[in-house]
């Protein structure tokens, strides 16, 4: 069960971080009129189409002593970033980025512009408009973003495989563990873990769909539009 706790811990950390960086990024994507915006949108969407092993490979190189991440980490902490829990967090944040950002953007964009105009005319700053008008109307999107980041990280395999190093209690997530059991022909163990993961993920997804049903089909209809 150590692997499952590890996976859950990873998923929680990643969701929290994605929430923190996803919100400002999504805000900018929703409201900016910069002509180069489509470039940023493409970069954010990359992990959706890149094979996880490609991302994992580039991360492995980047975390090495000659790579930008590796050099930074070595300078700051005196050791490498690969094969650490933090390394997994970095990898997972990148890999699940579009799952957090896209529902948020869709939600923000779904807010009627006239409401934003009205708020401005009534004297509210951009931040106050966001906090009091946009955010309350974006709760389904925020929830979707959080839950999807969590679920996606939980099921992650390829990227973790590439940079994890399979250390029990540190980087041996439940998906790696299942894979190992299969490789070692321990099918019963593999099956057990897989079922637990399946049930867990199903429960999480049911929450998302259930919430969205209650507050309307808005978010699901517009995601993943971009």
């Amino acid at each position: 069960m150590e692997a499952l706790f590890l996976s859950v811990r990873l998923a929680l950390c990643v969701s929290a971080i994605l929430f923190a960086i996803g919100m400002p990024l999504a805000y900018w994507l929703a409201y900016s009129r910069w002509r180069g915006k489509f470039l940023v949108e493409s970069v954010v969407a990359l992990p959706l189409v890149l094979p996880p092993t490609v991302l994992g490979f580039y991360l492995l190189v980047a975390m090495g002593p000659r790579g930008p991440l590796g050099k930074l980490w070595q300078a700051l902490f005196g050791h490498g970033l690969a094969f650490t829990f933090t390394g997994l967090i970095v990898a997972s944040v990148l890999y699940s980025l579009p799952f957090a950002v896209q529902p948020l953007v869709a939600s923000f964009e779904g807010v009627d512009r006239k409401l934003l105009d009205a708020s401005a005319v009534l004297g509210a700053s951009a931040l106050r408009t966001f906090r009091r008008v946009v955010l309350p109307m974006s709760i389904p999107g925020v929830l979707t973003a959080l839950v999807l980041s969590f679920a996606h990280t939980l099921g992650e395999f390829g990227v973790v495989l590439m940079v994890g190093g399979n250390l029990p209690g540190i980087t041996r997530t439940v998906s790696i563990d299942i894979y190992d059991h299969v490789q070692s022909l321990e099918y019963a163990d593999a099956n057990r873990m897989a079922v637990i993961l399946l049930v867990f993920s199903f429960a999480v997804l049911s929450v998302v769909y259930g919430v969205n049903r209650r507050v309307g089909r808005r978010v699901w209809a517009t995601w993943p539009a971009r």
Binding site: D117, A120, G123, V133
Partner: protein, 373 residues
């Protein structure tokens, strides 16, 4: 109402231009001065009315120009001034109202008073809720109240901030006659006490009549008439305005002769031999003109009338009749000139009007207005 505002006139001299320097499209090119009181901004859709409001509110930046309220400059392209909407003290009620759906009526109305200390804020909110007769709805959400109530809440929300200018974009278009009347009353009452420029966009003639002290007619981004409603709308100078203002008959004609002494001229309706007398204007015989006449200004008679002051009496046959609500639109063919008249159902019955019947069409000279394209 506590807290009165006296502000200067709203002046706007602006041009809004889209497209590149090689092919500019002028969306708006106007100069207006709006004094205190209710001024109606009148014109067909796409004429630039909403664009003007957006510029005054600060939601759209004009390409060049100046907008000021009294001495207070809101926008000046040459001076580099462009106040954000938050600082303009302009209130704007959108056509869709834009009430915040997740907040209660009270929270909506209090929204613009965030900088006011709490105790004072509560007072002002209470007062305005009462003034607009929506106090009993204060805890409801916008989705839970009727259209008319929403309208009042939107007005209350905008006016509680004691703005220097009030902008209204077709605020009553979605309401029925009774509701319109009561809200019009509220606005008039407010206007009595507050004396701020109120710019009211509409294309409904009824609202003009009920509210306006001044009308600005706008078309294709340009002002085509400013002044008293009678002048601008009852004697429209442009075809599109005539159509918008409800002139159902638009007749092409050629000027035949002028009688300056009588202040009239006669014109022959196109492709007919029918001549009618119309007010004198700058024209010479042979000029092609267009004449606008309201269907309501045309009378019908089942006998050739005599002793009338009207100078135009034409015989014709009823070609068709159409029920339009409380009116009947009667099309009469007078020797190839087709004119439309409005009569009441009672008149229809008592005159026994029917298709094919011979009638006389009566048209006053001064009901004929010359319009240009």
């Amino acid at each position: 109402m506590a807290g009165e505002v006296e502000s200067g006139a709203l002046t706007a001299l602006i041009r809004v231009q889209r497209g590149g320097a090689s092919q500019p499209v002028f969306v708006l090119d106007i100069s207006v001065a709006v004094p205190s009181g209710i001024t109606i901004l009148f014109g067909p859709s796409g004429s630039g009315k909403s664009t003007l409001l957006d510029c005054v509110a600060g939601l759209l930046r004009p390409t060049v120009g100046r907008i000021a309220v009294g001495d207070r400059v809101l926008f000046d392209s040459s001076g580099g001034v462009n106040l954000p909407p938050q600082q303009r003290r302009v209130a704007y009620v959108f056509q869709s109202l834009a009430l915040f759906p997740r907040m209660s009526v009270e929270e909506n109305v209090a929204y613009g008073l965030a900088d006011t200390p709490e105790a004072r804020r509560g007072e002002r909110v209470d007062l305005i809720l009462a003034a607009f007769r929506v106090a009993h709805l204060r805890s409801r959400k916008p989705g839970e109240i009727s259209g008319g109530e929403q309208q009042r809440v939107a007005l209350a929300r905008s006016l509680v901030t004691l703005p220097q200018v009030l902008l209204l974009d077709e605020p009553l278009s979605r309401l029925d006659a009774e509701l319109k009347a009561s809200i019009v009353e509220d606005l008039r009452a407010w206007n009595q006490t507050q004396r701020i420029p109120i710019l009211y966009v509409t294309h409904s003639r009824d609202e003009v009549d009920a509210l306006a002290q001044r009308v600005i007619a706008i078309e294709h981004g340009r002002v085509i008439g400013q002044g008293h409603p009678r002048e601008v709308l009852d004697a429209p100078r442009r075809t599109r305005l005539a159509l918008a203002a409800g002139f159902e008959n638009l007749l092409d004609a050629t000027v035949v002769s002028l009688r300056e002494a009588d202040g009239v001229m006669s014109a022959r309706l196109a492709e007919t031999a029918v001549e009618i007398e119309v007010p004198l204007s700058y024209a010479t015989p042979g000029d092609r003109v267009r004449i606008a006449v309201r269907a309501g200004d045309i009378m019908l008679a089942t006998q050739h009338p005599s002793g009338l002051s009207a100078r135009n009496v034409l015989e014709g046959q009823i070609e068709s009749m159409e029920h339009r609500g409380t009116l009947i639109a009667v099309h009469v063919n007078c020797r190839s000139a087709v004119l439309m008249s409005h009569v009441t159902p009672g008149a229809l019955r008592s005159l026994e009007l029917s298709t094919g019947k011979t009638v006389w069409v009566v048209l006053k000279t001064h009901s004929c207005h010359l319009v240009s394209d």
